[in-house]
Subunit: 379 residues, 2 copies
Amino acid sequence: MHITVQRDKLSNAVSHVSKAVSSRTTIPILTGIKIKTDDEGITLTASDSDISIEVQIPLEEAGDWGVTIHQPGSIVLPARIFSEIVRKLPSNEIHIQADDRLVTQIRSGQAEFTINGMDASEYPQLPHLEEDKVISVPCDLLKAMIRQTVFGVSTSEMRPILTGIMWSLEQGKLRFVATDSHRLASRTAMVECPEDLSFHNVVVPGKSCNELMKILDDDQNLADIVVADNQILVKSKHILFYSRLLEGTYPDTTRIIPQGSKTEITVSTKEFLQSIERASLLSREGKSNVVKLVTLSDGSVEITSNAPEIGKVTDILMPKALNGEELKISFNAKYMIDALRAIDSTEIKASFTGPMSPFVIRPTDHDWMLHLILPVRTY
Amino acid sequence: MHITVQRDKLSNAVSHVSKAVSSRTTIPILTGIKIKTDDEGITLTASDSDISIEVQIPLEEAGDWGVTIHQPGSIVLPARIFSEIVRKLPSNEIHIQADDRLVTQIRSGQAEFTINGMDASEYPQLPHLEEDKVISVPCDLLKAMIRQTVFGVSTSEMRPILTGIMWSLEQGKLRFVATDSHRLASRTAMVECPEDLSFHNVVVPGKSCNELMKILDDDQNLADIVVADNQILVKSKHILFYSRLLEGTYPDTTRIIPQGSKTEITVSTKEFLQSIERASLLSREGKSNVVKLVTLSDGSVEITSNAPEIGKVTDILMPKALNGEELKISFNAKYMIDALRAIDSTEIKASFTGPMSPFVIRPTDHDWMLHLILPVRTY
């Protein structure tokens, strides 16, 4: 293989695929990045066997030179050192030339590296997914949907299925749900897809979702999503992102979301968040991180917390509206802070059905998002 | 004690003094920040017994309100939680009121914290230094002098005296020297001071110098330096920074700096640095991080390194001037990178007296800085 490639494009591609390289792998070739030429340019591949990422660098794109192929071929180069070398090279053009013994020269300006490559024929094949049924979502929306739910996945391996986000599609509505059984985050959006396409129980590992969020651009270009039996593929411009799916059946979460409410508080998202954050300064000193919310007869809401030996805090919040029964309820401040930070809307409505029942936080300006939190019994 | 203080000033003061709070102290009261009123305003104090920092908030400054004292007094508040509370308070005015039982109310807007304070009379007294002999240095220069030498201090406790920067003053010339016995960094500057003032062997711990660098503003206001037997005090605006000095005798470093040279290379600081950084990508994979420099007959300089099993790198550097004998020399890339990064000048001169002797790097545009590096024997 002998190619000349534009430095910034190579550097970008290497930094993208590097997110899939695990330093702790037991498969030596997976510590490398595969470079392979084809008729359209070159493709870089990296994989940690859970996540695989491919990035293409086309020969040219909109008149902009990307890569020249002097001799087709492929090579696997050690990921960390290759990525550091690419970042430090002095000139715009990078020559990469691998000989039959896998010895690879990387030249740029007056700098010349000679490093030992690995045999690309030993690199595992990525799965081939049928791309006849594709759903399309703007990249920024897909990023937002992940950001607004992924904090809710379980970090415990007790119930592995809860460590992922459950993706489902029905009648053009894509839904993400995450729960750790103490709280739940849900986000839906209308997407472009074939009319008859639907799926359920597609559980993407939280770690994969986090990496996908990092790799997607923050723009409205469409990302194409292909769902297969045990794999998902997200394609965006020159990036292909593969993740394995979690095995098992995701619990039915629709039944635990209460209908109706006994007490409703409509309040500024920011003021509510800041008040809970202040209370949390003390509550998190204890193990449980519990804050208490009490409705007062003058229409205000009192947020309190205390930490033995350190002190206590009282905050008075003036909601826009307070309706229904009096309420005293306690909950984990972290769950509330996570939910409120995920909400982009300026105002939320919290709907309670009593001090022992799960309650729901929704933005007031749309129905696409819902956060459910289980209270803590302190009364 | 009962005061009302401006939030941003309190927040700044707390963040400054917090740098002296150690979380690992065995003296409980040193986990706190002392607040004390006096006729001019309030003073915040924190100390980890090596470093002590005091910040004053005046009643007002240039017509700008700082603090109002309703009832004089003093209190010690737990540093971490107090600092977090101050940052999260909603309003511009913060009321702090401590009662006789040390219970302290912190109120701002609708938020009210009640925390348990500690008795300020138990807080250790800071040393009183005679301020009759003061030297004055612009803050940005003092920061630069630290930044350009502190990386050279030893991190090993084998010779504790080498873990500090040696400050000396003679005929108005302030000199900082740091060495770990493999390399040495020296920086001098003319300062304002009484004519007859001189000192030597004032060794300030590297950690103190780093904290001082962080706390000083990057401007040309003068910092006043007072040196006592076992303490140093640096005063800048409303900040007083105390550090203990290291005990022992700093080695005489003047004799190891070679006079004259056999080979001289004048080269762009940036090009030299980038070349060494590239070579270091491979050399640091080995234990010794050694790169090799060879002068070539065409007036260029070859920088090489290799890491068994990974590969090798060759870089050709075109210096502005190359004079004297041929040279092959090896050295630790990290020492060279540290030295070149510390030099603000665009061009340096490296002076060698043979492959086994220490060599010297100096900027070409002034004589205030010198870096000395011991070579590694590989030939």
